[in-house]
Amino acid sequence: MATASSARQSQQWVGQPLQRREDSRFLRGTGRYTDDVPHAFALHVAFVRSPIAFGVIRSIEVTRALEIPGVVAVLTSADLGHPSLTGFLDRDEFVTTSMPILAHERVRFVGEPIAIVVATDRYIAEDAVEAVACEIDELTAIVTMDDQVPSQIPIHDAAPDGVLVDLRMFTDDELEGVLAASPLVVDETFRSGRLQAAPMEGRGALAEWIDRDDQLVVTVSTQLPHQVRTGIAQALGLVERQVRVIVPDVGGGFGFKAVLGREEVAVAAAARILGRPVRWAEDRLESLTASFQGREQEYTVRAGFTEDGVLTGLAADIRCNVGAYSAFPFTCGLEPIMAATEFLGVYKVPRYASRSRGIASNKPPSNAYRGVSRPQIVMVMEGLMDRAADRLGIDRVEIRRRNTIRPEDFPYTGPNGITYEPGSYLEALELCAAQVQQLGWWQRREEAAPGFIRGIGIANFSERNAYGTATMGLRRMPMTPGFEVAHLTMDASGDVTLTSGTCSAGQGHETTFAQIVADRLGIAPDRIKLRQGDTDLTSFGWGTFAGRSLVIGGGAAAVAARKLATQLKEVAAYLLSVSADDIELSNGNATVRVSGESMSIDDIAKTVHFRSHLLPAREEYLLESHGSADPSGMFSNGCHAALVEIDAGTGAVCVLDYLVVEDCGVIVNPLVVDGQVRGGIAQGIGSTLYEEAEYSSDGQPLAGSFMSYLVPTAAEMPPIAIHHLETPCYQTETGVKGMGEAGTIGAPAVILSALNDALRSRGAWLEHVPVTPADMQQLLALPIETESS
């Protein structure tokens, strides 16, 4: 019989590429997403939405709609009692505005909900939408961040200049002098297009008032069950207990569902008012044009370098087009704060100052989308490196090497006040560069067929994640996210139920959380069932976003499992007449180390539940434990390289090959990690080459379907090779760091770097995404210069 040789946590299951526990139901079609939840009596909803971007509502005429057989109600903001959501920050630089659940007085973007139609079936509800007549006085739409119409009312009265947040978090009186004295100042403006996260399942809700429980039960597709509960309770004047939020399987989130949408609240309000169950499933047009977007940003930067390519200082003016409203709960300050705070990435920048603004427009509100501002700041930092390398005649890897935070620098505190825990920034860069060499990419770069040009890009970056209370508190939200708790219960058959306030949207929590717990209890992962997504079943939590779930939620589960293991050992020790310290839990048994005598954990569970007369009286009778975790936040890191080819005739771009070096600390399940990396890169490539939520000059959405909003298909994806480094996190029991966003963060920078490498001979330089074939054709028309580097 094996005995533990050290106190180190044995890792029989952590690290294994276990096939996912979730897969079976998804493969059989028996997964249950919000719109799959059966309800025989539910009424169906369709929303009357604004056809114009900005205007004043004069009247809403619903009589004709109500005459249609099957229409139960048409409700406006007034009918709901003018409920609203307010996502705000308690900061002087923040202008607080509210988002009405249904438009009240003004409409502020095309697609904004004005009325909710409730009918016996969705087809009828949509018919009735057509029969509602809205009279709206149209105003001039504010579409870009430079649009100004001083002669008319502003989007929000509280922000006459349209600026909803204006942060100057980092100032440095010496910076201008340092830049003036720098041999090279790279002065550039980078832009990124507006995006939609486009999970395959849109949003949805099913709401019903249950009198017996004195509760509004709302089934909703979200990443934040408890925050949705808080928001609905606040908006509808209920206490938290009176709202139960149930989240079934979620068909992708990516930050798009780290929010409470007004439609979900409207559905809940309608169910409450009508006293009947009501459901809504968002269609793709609504999802693309009337939900949440993000990423429309502009960075005007000046970066000083020495002649050796070492950064001397950086000044940034950051503007984010945050759309018409501040989303609940993360607010329109989300992108500006993230951009300013984490701008410097893996580089040592001695002096830094930034201004970061969120500017209102007549577009749907911005919210989190996978990576939040990091894809942009990495694109900017890497673009600056490439630009400086070109200007100074330094190799692109070498200039990164000279500026990267080195192993001996940790713990490193930057001018942004953040202390970085150890990461493999330099190792990742070196390994990636070595791989590019070894794989013969430099040769392949020269082997383009006539009419094609090739380039290689490189991007070295970090991804801060798993923000705990200490870090989130600095944002000054009225609700500070951060900690997680986990509850574990072993039942009489020896199986374990784990609850967590995190909420999977496809990340495989049921598998990975079980792997962590299994190692600590000495039982197989399939004996551990994770339950999430029900505010009555789980005590409280902050949901799933920013690479936090397995780090914080899994960290809490590890603590709870350690405590439950102690309970099991104590019972076994009593029954086997030894000391608990002599017991080891493994392979389903509690075994005495020296004698090898053992009893099964199933028997311990049975004894505790059914034969407690065999045990001494004690304070806690059952096998239950809880744990909590609240790390301050950490940095995963990685280095990407890409080989791209441009068709000089058509301007079409093909990503030929892609290489990833990533470090997310201890890997719980390599299958899941690689899947997150590849999927993230697909989204990053999409945002660099194909996707944009474009708007006309009068604020009409131009990308209302998957024919115009171009999510990458398999045909656009390169093969992606992944190499792992492992710098364990010291903030949690598990050593795990977050890793869900790295792919999306690195891809725009590396593709842009590769395109600029390919275009160097044309003297062309790209500093925006998405890069369209039209952009490319324009650049390719430039005369070819003699290659200089």
């Binding site: 998804f26 079609g29 395959m200 998957f706 093969p719």
Partner: protein, 162 residues
Amino acid sequence: MSESCEITLTVNGVRHQVSVEPRRTLADVLRIDLGLTGTHVGCEHGICGACTVLMDDQPVRACLVFGVQADGSSIRTVEGLAANGELTDLQQAFSRHHALQCGFCTPGFLMLAEGYLAETPAPDRVAVREMVSANLCRCTGYQGIVDAIVDVAEQRFHERPI
């Protein structure tokens, strides 16, 4: 709206008679009238392919086919794959290659691949990638999906009756 029509469908081997409005999509007939919610609706305009089912052995977008157009046809949905309880080789390969994350698009890819492999027994990787590009997945980056289908195609080819 308009009058309902009686249609007959054989779904996963079971005959159903359903009364539907002419405008009702096959996706809604399957999901709402027959309770087969494994077929998911991702875009309702025929691009994403999440609702792909086999209609008389051919992959179709169930959001672009009206129920009345399917009258008299034989439909296979994801619920019909593991009919005897055990996952099929293709389903197992999807799990093995981590070809799914959120699982929402998965039924569409499974039905697309089943229809394709029935007609194209020995496709190469390029052809599989081309076929997979008919549907959208937002989670996986497709590599696992392509790997799983190539794996099963090879397996089935080697195990084919000669």
